[in-house]
């Protein structure tokens, strides 16, 4: 039986607590009285995954069983979540592979031979063949990839997009032509956090910039309170409206999965545990890992973390109509992540880890570090932010000036050019977004290489707009001063210094909350 999440109050018996710090960790002594939010322990995993998949496909919610939707001569498209989830990536076999194989088996039994598989990467980078293989498995890859039937979605391929109409708010719904013209679109989702899935899957994953800009903008994102609560998120409202239009044109069979919190295993097992419960072995593992990481050259350290794969367990799988399926999924996600927290605090502290959705097999550049901390972690709440209005956020990450020219070419320009002019999301949106979105070089790299779309860094910055608007002070501990300053933040050498720096806005004895994640949590702030 797994234990629920809980809130610890630091007292004089509390040991130093682990804080994620990019490609490394710290042990930090927090001030007395600091609230520490621990995620729930991992829920028990489904024992027989194959059986659960079969059960979901044959007993879907508000839909005919999948075999009844399949027939010879039909056009079947299977779209699946890209490499941005789960985080860290999943050990093989990926759950998507197992679901896709089951769907393809049923399709073959029904005589369906017009099948295409699309990675729903929207404006994310194209996956490499190896990355696609890791998700769909060797058999599916070999059967479909060489014939061009397994591919990355291309949001800039104008000839292969379909405009399905507009929502009642005038939002364009433009998605993959192949998906739009299919007799059935099966969407295979991995729901890592509450933000994922539902109408966000197809309406966003297979959409073009023309469609995405309606909800990926500074105004919508500043009014998403939070991304992890789709009923209070303007971005999700927009996606849901688009979903209404989309489902009038496209028959979607949604398959959603939820995972448990088994993120770290092997020598990193101690990261799953509460510090006062570390065994001698855990303590030795921590010390050995920390020492090794401290002396390892950056490339080796990066390699160690890049190769970290998680042994997630499946906690649920549901299929059928999008809304009821997503409701069921959220129930499981909430069971795994929700922690009840009483009231807000003056200061929130977060450790930004080595990986976020957009730097899998890549580098966490400063913008992505900001997005991970102030976009994802700050928004890991339901009800109210963990930190009060005009409070302070303190983050841990080195925020090195490091960019991948392969994956994030427009990020470099965004950092150098856009942020040097303004850090205000609305200002940069008005002045620069269109230029970057239409830059032919970025479009070329997005379409032919493995680069995120030119507009992507803007989305990352909008992602943090709620935090920028809400917080009075944002300070990074142990970060590169120059990179942090460029983003409009400040850097402190230690937690004590950071608290000193924010004391003018939160006082000398602020209430402090530390979000002890990953593993993932969702603070239900009452």
């Amino acid at each position: 039986m797994s234990r629920p999440g809980f809130v610890l109050e630091v007292d004089d018996r509390t040991p130093p607590l682990l804080v994620h710090n990019g490609e490394g960790f710290k042990l930090e002594r927090f001030p007395l009285g600091t609230r520490v939010i621990y995620p729930p322990e991992s829920l028990p995993a489904v024992r027989d995954v194959e059986e659960a998949i079969q059960n979901a496909l044959l007993n879907p919610l508000e839909s005919e069983p999948l075999p009844e939707l399949l027939y010879a001569g039909m056009r079947l498209t299977i779209a699946f979540d890209d490499i941005s989830i789960p985080l860290p990536p999943m050990q093989k076999p990926d759950i998507r592979q197992r679901i896709i194989e089951a769907v393809l088996t049923m399709a073959a039994d029904a005589g369906v031979d017009d099948v295409e598989l699309i990675s729903a990467n929207a404006l994310h980078r194209r996956l490499t063949p190896n990355e696609l293989r890791d998700i769909v498995g060797e058999r599916v890859f070999r059967s479909f990839y060489p014939d061009g039937k397994l591919y990355n979605f291309d949001a800039e391929d104008r000839d292969n997009l379909s405009h399905l109409g507009q929502t009642r708010h005038g939002e364009d719904v433009e998605i993959s032509k192949r998906a739009a013209e299919s007799d059935l679109l099966v969407y295979v989702n991995v729901n890592l956090v509450a933000m994922d899935g539902g109408h966000k899957s197809t309406s966003i994953g297979l959409a073009s910039y023309k469609s995405l800009k309606h909800h990926h903008n500074s105004h919508t994102m500043i009014h998403s309170r939070s991304f992890m609560d789709h009923k209070a998120s303007k971005m999700h409202e927009s996606a849901w409206r688009m979903g209404e239009v989309l489902t009038q044109h496209v028959k979607v069979f949604q398959i959603e999965t939820s995972l448990n919190n088994d993120i770290f295993g092997g020598p990193l097992q101690f990261l799953q545990k509460r510090e006062w419960e570390w065994s001698i072995k855990d303590q030795a593992s921590f010390l050995a890992t920390k020492r090794a990481l401290d002396i390892a050259p950056p490339k080796l350290r990066h390699k160690i973390f890049t190769e970290t794969k998680s042994h997630y367990g499946l906690t649920g799988i549901n299929a059928g109509k999008i809304e009821p399926v997503h409701d069921r999924t959220l129930e499981m996600v909430h069971r795994q992540h929700l922690v009840e927290v009483q009231g807000q605090s003056d200061v929130a502290i977060m450790g930004v880890p080595f990986v976020g959705p957009y730097n899998v097999n890549s580098v966490m550049n400063p913008i992505l570090a900001a997005c991970m901390g102030l976009g994802y972690y700050f928004n890991s709440y339901r009800g109210n932010p963990v930190v009060r209005k005009d409070g302070a956020v303190i983050l841990y990450h080195p925020v090195d000036y490091e960019f991948s020219q392969l994956h994030h070419p427009s990020y470099v320009d965004f950092f150098e050019e856009v942020l040097s002019e303004s850090t205000d999301p609305a200002t940069i949106e008005a002045k620069f977004e269109k230029q970057y979105a239409e830059d032919p070089w970025y479009i070329h790299l997005y379409r032919t290489s493995n680069a995120y779309h030119g507009v992507h860094p803007f989305y990352m910055w909008y992602w943090i707009s709620h935090a920028l608007d809400h917080c009075g002070d944002i300070v990074w501990v142990g970060a590169n001063r120059k990179t942090v300053e460029r983003m409009g933040f400040r850097s402190a050498s230690t937690l004590q210094d950071a608290l000193e720096m924010v004391s003018h806005s939160v006082g000398r004895s602020p209430s402090i909350t530390y979000l002890h994640n990953p593993p993932h949590l969702l603070a239900d702030v009452r």
Binding site: V412, E416, E417, D439, P440, W441, H444
Partner: protein, 399 residues
Amino acid sequence: MMLALEMYRSPAKFLAAKAMGSRIPSLLTGPAAPLRLVTINEPKADKDGWARIRPILSGICGSDLGMVTGHTKLYFSALVSLPFVPGHEIVGELLDDCEDLPKGTRVVMDSVLTCAARGVEPCDGCASGHTNLCDRITVGHVAPGLQTGFCSDTGGGWGNVMVAHRSQLYAVPDGLSDERAVLTEPLAGAVHTALRAKIEPGQSVLVSGAGAVGLFATLALRELTQAGRITVVAKHARQRELARAFGASDVVAPDEVFRGVRRATGAFRLKPEMNAKEFLLGGVDVAVDAVGSKESIDTVLRVTKAGGRVVLAGMPSTGADLSPVWFRELELTGTYASSRGEPNDRPAFETALEIAAKAPLDGIVGARYPLYRWREALDHAQSAGRLGTVKVAFDVRAS
């Protein structure tokens, strides 16, 4: 007799500067400098149209430094007559009446020693008003020398007295300070560069270099053309500030040129094998090299769009890879000094005097030295960018 800094022939110092100058920069303005402070006879103004001038301020130009430090190509050795007194950026006072200009008039000087100054029949260049293209700069009744300041007969601004021909002189308006007037010659060069660049309305321009040549070129481009986006490559903080004040749309660091230009123009960026220098497909319409180094010329050639124009405004000192000129069919244009017959049908100096009067040039002459502190002055000029100075000048009156 007068006090002057004299450039003299010294193969040993030239070779020492070549061999050790890059490793020991202080050599270049120290023991290896083929320059000396001497008391010599004043130059004579005994031909029609010539008059003596007492320099007030005399700027130190990149070409002067190139000559002193041995960086100038030997190509130019046939165009000078040693020993000579350097200094061609001057504001001075006439010591004699000079045709219609009375004694005591403050003047600035177009330093090119043209057919008119040399007393020969006008060559094609001079006849058509392109006086900077004069073909007779080594003949006539004046010793060889492409300009005053490189000629053994005329003296130069780095001495107490020099001579000039009426065709070279422009009276300085009363309201114009000496500090602004001394900038007229480099400004005239910038006017010439801006007009030679033949910029169509809205075209994008890159100016590589933010020393005096680059900054004044930026100023002239903004003033005289309808250029669209002007990107300036600047190393130092003060240069960045001034580039913006002079009309740059944006400023990039030298290691940011490819990224910045690519962003500004939507070009494609290519990286050849084996760490060869990258280049753009697409890029700016017109690029102005205001440095003259191999690095800078290589860069401007690589960021100019196919069919575009590259203007060499800095004195080129070393060879560059011309592959882009061939492959992208670039138009490569030099701009040297300035002429009386610019494309706007006015002498460049007239336009330059107007710019000197209204442009934000206060503080551009950042340091003034007497002649006897010439080593310090040259040191300062060598490091002007780093020290936040645009123009270092000799205050000849104080010498």
